[in-house]
């Protein structure tokens, strides 16, 4: 009996060790299977199927040009990060993949993505083709980028022209105090001034980040350590939560929104304003008449948008990365080159309503409609990239959740004070470990 136990122990140990080694990387990939590529696309369209329909013709073009067949899988946002983590730890994954650009530094730290050094950039046509602000969100400063941008986005203030007119408001607000004043005028009879996505962690931290910038604060210090609960960040978070808590220009029910219900509410005319990234295509798909809405720059505290405390949008967007364990490195880079070529940038971003991340493609007249002009301006002049630190994804999770809880407090009518915000943010900071 003892022998059996010993044998089991031995086998267990051996297999366990083998299991641990399962994630061992096999170097920088090779070119063992030069004829196929697997591409994980993020969900940019209204459904996974919509994405497939939009991407497939382009992938066929690539196949005709290069003879490389691209296997497409559109991965929903709820799964994407988990799937990437699983792929990274097992070494089995796609060849090319989309990542949310705010994850760049976090995923860069795993070492699972192919760094874009000078030679790699040369293989895809050069680094200076890309829009500088979009390149700012591709990895930690001083390191070779972990990805290249393919779709660029920025936040804008979408407003309902009809409701504004009915409330006697001539122009969209340029500062937050104007937004609150207007919002109060617009909030009546079951309609609200603003729609927010209170239970959506990503949306929450995007806004917290911009508000913090406007208060001269940051969620990380220069060394990459969390500074979640400084007076500036507390004021930032409180200002955003106050839209429900004290200003009451957003519906209490918004505290529960996490599946783009705020876009739906805006499209239906239930809310008069919405802070969103390139919402145009979505609003059209939800049946809102394009003449009924306008876009203005996201408000600031005082003055005009610009750098420093004039920042009014994050650098939003999607990056394209190459998985380090790819068995078709050359093909993967060809694919990246194809996807970031002028033609494809125009076609793809045209389909998704986003902005090309390549300067020459951005000049195309189709990206100069009123909506995209506002977003382009924002991206060029008053945008800041989210902290490019490895702990960014933890920040999204912890601060995002803290804000969701604060919104829940506000919705239930419990007071949201500087102290309560400070306490939640401090708790979030203390939960950052390692």
């Amino acid at each position: 009996m003892r022998r059996i136990t010993a044998a089991i122990a031995a086998i267990t140990t051996v297999t366990a060790l083998a299991g641990c080694g399962g994630g061992t990387a096999t170097g920088n990939g090779g070119n063992k299977s030069p004829k196929t590529l697997t591409y994980w696309a993020s969900n940019q369209g209204k459904s996974l199927d919509d994405d497939k329909q939009k991407l497939t013709p382009e992938l066929q073009k690539f196949e005709t040009q290069t003879g490389i067949h691209v296997k497409l899988e559109v991965v929903p946002w709820t799964d994407l990060l988990n799937r990437i983590l699983a792929a990274t730890s097992s070494g089995q994954g796609p060849d090319v993949l989309n990542i949310g650009n705010t994850w760049s530094a976090s995923l860069q730290a795993t070492g699972g993505l192919l760094p874009f050094d000078a030679a790699t950039f040369a293989a895809i046509g050069g680094k200076d083709r890309f829009v500088p602000s979009a390149l700012a969100s591709t990895g930690a400063a001083g390191k070779d980028p972990a990805a290249v941008p393919i779709y660029s986005l920025a936040y804008g203030l979408y407003y309902n022209k009809k409701l504004f007119k009915a409330a006697g408001i001539a122009n969209p607000p340029a500062t937050w105090s104007e937004l609150v004043t207007d919002g109060k005028k617009l909030t009546s009879g079951g309609k609200t001034g603003l729609a927010v996505e209170g239970a959506n962690n990503s949306e929450n931290i995007h806004h917290a980040f911009v508000f913090a910038k406007q208060h001269g604060a940051d969620f990380f210090d220069a060394a990459g350590n969390p500074t979640f609960a400084t007076p500036g960040t507390v004021a930032a978070v409180k200002q955003y939560v106050d839209f429900i808590a004290s200003d009451k220009i957003a519906a209490a029910g918004d505290a529960e929104y996490a599946q783009n219900q705020s876009v739906a509410d805006f499209a239906k005319g239930k809310a008069a304003m919405l802070l969103w990234q390139a919402a145009g295509v979505q609003l059209k798909e939800r049946g809102m008449n394009p003449d009924d809405w306008g876009v203005a720059p996201v408000p600031v505290q005082t003055g005009a948008p610009g750098s420093g405390t004039g920042v009014n949008t994050m650098v939003a967007g999607i990056n394209l990365a190459v998985f380090k364990n790819t068995q078709n490195r050359d093909g993967a880079l060809k694919f990246v080159k194809f996807m970031t070529s002028d033609d494809e940038q125009k076609i793809l971003n045209g389909k998704y309503g986003s902005l090309p991340s390549v300067s020459s493609a951005q000049q195309d007249p189709q990206f100069s409609n009123p909506e995209l002009t506002v977003l382009k301006e924002g991206l060029a002049k008053s945008a800041a990239a989210l902290p490019q630190v490895p702990k960014e994804s933890q920040f999204e999770e912890l601060v995002g959740t803290a804000m969701k809880d604060l919104f829940a407090d506000a919705a239930a009518g419990r007071p949201v004070t500087t102290e309560s915000v400070q306490k939640r943010l401090m708790k979030a900071q203390q939960q950052m470990q390692g």
Binding site: G23, A25, G111, G112, A255, Q394, E397, Q433, G434
Partner: protein, 339 residues
Amino acid sequence: MTAPTSTTTPSRGGGTGDGPGPFPGSGRAGKKPRRTFGIGRGAVPYLLVLPALLLELLIHIVPMAVGIVMSFKELTQFYIRNWGQAPWRGFDNYRVAVNFHAPIGEALLRSFGITCAFTVLAVGFSWLFGIAAAILMQDSFRGRGLLRALFMTPYALPVYATVIIWAFMLQHDNGLVNHVLHDQLHLSSKPAFWLIGNNSFVSLVVVSIWRNWPFALLVLMAGMQNIPDEMYEASAIDGAGVWQQIRHITMPSLRPINQVLVLVLFLWTFNDFNVPYVLFGQSAPPAGDLISIHIYQASFLTWNFGSGSAMSVLLLLFLLVVTTTYLAVTSRTRRTSNV
């Protein structure tokens, strides 16, 4: 294969390890050395269970062992690509998890407390509904089959689909629950939130009971079929009422069934991940922060797999202790009551 084995195998051969002595069969075989066969025969039972053993290892033991190994490592995003290189942290992950004065330990303890309360309520009511329905349906009546099928439905449907329907029903603005409670019955002054804030605990308990009580019903119904009708008849002749029958016949007869049922319900409910995950999404509200979701957040969402593993191991230990104690206590009371 043949000759050299005789020098090495005896020390390993199970049960025949007394040196290369003359076996009864070896002399008879003459030229052929049959020693390997003799040793092999001792190994046959082990060889037969070997596939099962290997599968058991592969499916159960290895993942658990890997989890335990991980819990001693600093397995963060910097090392997931190459686990082997993750530095050992000794008991640090555990120390952080059980330091109830620090935020991480405090949050874990809080989540543990919520999970305990949730489990007690959910299991208690599931069992109560199950036994009540089983007793009511013990005698046959018209439509019993239909009713049974109806009661079983929540259990037969896929978890995800049903819980997502609950999530829709519990929505603040357009949910059916608020529509009925607030718009139709005017029970509250303003519509309540069920998926965020403190009510989320209630939602969780209700959905869990709704989901699990049919299982209790199923098991208890099966158990009741083994109670001979004569016992009820005899007790009726002795003048026992319904309550006395339940107390003195039904419940004692169901004791072994209940022992297993409550344990299984406890383990399922305590570890439940699907219901809170589908109901609340990745970040559960504080009042609905069940331990499985909490651990998921501590590892997957913050990319600290070592810490998450340590919490899982602690959970495993806790469940082991509870299960063993439970079985020991209930078995003893059963034995004494049977005497």
